[in-house]
């Protein structure tokens, strides 16, 4: 659906996107992740045909964005950052305008509007003035607009920014539903969002793609070690050396109060020291009240990949 090869975008005195290549196949839902100023919006604007690229080739649905911009735009529903809308228009009026603008045949417009309003949960605000709607509703109007010509591909730039947690969940749910029928590329710097909604993640940093994989595999790749947490009541001086003695345990850190002490152990992924810890505690008669293994979060990965020269990233 999307093929990007060696895409470069220069702004005066700055390289915003630097030799980026990736592909998205039909039906995929891909998260575009990166810190502020990484070049997400710039890439998406080029994909949507708003900005011309400095170098490289972008193809969407087998059409070159630079050579056949109109063909490409027919197939894309693009929601820009901050969801710009005409505040003085009514919802229905806006959707009608956009549908006509996007070439939906006149006879089909009313049915399309009803359908997208239904899908985005805004059926009851058709007569309201957009500027007077809440942010969450405006966001949904924006989403409805991207769907109005039934595009194959949705490009959504930070679709949940600025919403309260309830609205974020609603919009995410909506996106997950849309994923059944459309290919989606969405950008965000909220990691949990990607973990929840996307099958694949592209991490972009300073204009370059630094990782592209499923959230799961990224997590596994990044963490050769897992950490195990155990809370044990017992003399710290005895417990700590005993834990160190368990095979596979590389490092032990203790933390916490008088009775209960929280131990954080590092161990290789393929070795699980938990049975040995339980057995040890039972054998010595130390009460054990918590024992679990923590997987690295996408957040760790993200920080790991993008924290280099943080100061330079946002000039």
């Amino acid at each position: 659906m999307i093929e990007v090869s060696h895409l470069t975008k220069h702004y005066p005195g700055r390289v915003a996107v630097d030799d980026v290549s990736f592909a998205v196949s039909p039906g995929e839902i891909v998260g575009f992740l990166g810190p502020n100023g990484a070049g997400k919006s710039t890439t998406m604007r080029i994909l949507a045909g708003y900005l011309p690229a400095t170098g490289g080739v972008v193809r969407v649905a087998d059409h070159d964005v630079a050579e056949e911009p109109i063909e490409v735009r027919r197939r894309i529903g693009y929601l820009p950052e901050n969801c710009p809308l005409y505040g003085e228009m009514r919802v229905d009026e806006y959707l009608r305008f956009r549908a006509r603008l996007k070439g939906v045949p006149r006879a089909k417009v009313p049915a399309r509007i009803v359908e997208v309003k239904e899908r985005c949960g805004i059926a009851d605000v058709g007569n309201r003035i957009i500027g007077q709607l809440s942010k969450g509703y405006r966001q949904r109007v924006g989403l409805a607009e991207t769907l109005v010509h039934d595009p194959d591909l949705l490009i959504l730039d930070e679709p949940t920014i600025g919403l309260d947690p309830n609205q974020i969940r609603l919009v995410r749910g909506l996106i997950a539903e849309l994923a059944e029928r459309h290919t989606i590329l969405l950008s965000t710097h909220i990691l949990s969002e990607v973990e929840m909604t996307c099958k694949r993640v592209l991490i972009i940093h300073k204009g370059r793609i630094v990782a592209s994989d499923t959230p799961d595999r990224l997590r596994r790749r990044m963490t050769g070690e897992a950490s195990v947490i155990a809370e044990i009541a017992g003399p710290r001086g005895e417990v700590e050396p005993a834990l160190r003695g368990i095979s596979g345990v590389a490092d032990v850190q203790a933390e916490g109060g008088d009775a209960w002490v929280r131990y954080m152990l590092r161990a290789p992924r393929d070795e699980d020291p938990r049975p040995a810890i339980a057995a040890l505690a039972a054998q010595r008669g130390w009460p054990l009240r918590e024992l679990h293994r923590e997987a690295a979060t996408l957040e760790d990965i993200f920080v790991n990949l993008t924290q280099t020269d943080e100061a330079e990233a946002q000039p």
Partner: protein, 248 residues
């Protein structure tokens, strides 16, 4: 074509819903009405050496209104889209930049033409109530309205261009006003300047004398070409600016 029609329609309905456009229209109609009533009193004193249309378009009130009215109609066109970010959704819809520019221009021009229509009623009234007076000849009448249309086209295209240069409506309005004033004053040089060249150039630019000619029923091809090509040039420049997308 669908895209053009959709944008044109949106712009035109936008004018009908915008308070600014109403204020401008009302202001325009009051000024035109005042000029007409003045006209009636002049004509009541007996036949003078002027036609109705000539008096109408030669009036300084008419020109001051024009200079104020055009920026009010055009300042919003691109500047507001850029300020609110909707330019991004507009330019990523399957329409060409040229279609968008032409549609916005057509929207402004249609509303401008609409503003003129009530003045036809004034003419009708004039004719109805002064039966003893000769009705305006069709020549000056058509010439006057053609002139108003041509000059309106050119000035509106200047306004559209200025609006594409900035994301601030006020800046757009002020630049438009300044550009029009400059053109208008350059035209008046004809009356004050000495050098032959200056006078010749000035006479070509002078909307004021063009309008007087038109409203006498004398339609010269040179001003027609001047306004049409000027409009085309401004629209072309606007398309180039919009294509460059070098704002933010």
């Amino acid at each position: 074509m669908n895209g053009f029609l959709a944008v044109w329609r949106k712009e035109l309905t936008g004018y009908f819903l915008s308070p600014a456009a109403y204020i401008v229209t009302i202001f325009f109609l009051i000024v035109m009405g005042a000029i007409f009533s003045l006209l009636v009193s002049v004509l009541a004193e007996g036949p003078a050496g002027v036609t109705v249309m000539n008096l109408l378009f030669g009036s300084p009130f008419f020109w001051m209104t024009m200079l104020a009215l055009v920026p009010a109609l055009t300042m919003r066109l691109f500047a507001e889209e850029k300020r609110s970010g909707t330019i991004e959704t507009l330019m990523t819809a399957p329409v060409t930049d040229t279609a968008v520019v032409l549609a916005k221009f057509a929207g402004a021009l249609s509303f401008y033409a609409f503003m003129w229509t009530p003045t036809l009623i004034y003419l009708f009234i004039l004719r109805y109530f002064s039966a003893d007076m000769a009705p305006p000849d069709p020549g000056p009448l058509a010439g006057g309205y053609l002139g108003a249309l041509l000059i309106g086209m050119f000035y509106l295209s200047i306004g559209l261009f200025c609006s594409a240069l900035t994301s601030n409506q006020i800046v757009a309005a002020i630049t438009t006003f300044a550009a029009m004033l400059l053109l208008f004053l350059a035209g008046l040089l004809d009356y004050v300047a000495r050098g032959d060249l200056v006078q010749a150039v000035s006479a070509h630019l002078s909307s004021y004398s063009h309008m007087l000619e038109f409203s006498r029923g004398a339609i010269d091809s040179r001003p027609v070409v001047y306004y049409l090509s000027g409009t085309a040039l401004m629209l072309f420049a606007t398309v180039k600016i919009v294509e460059a997308r070098n704002w933010k």
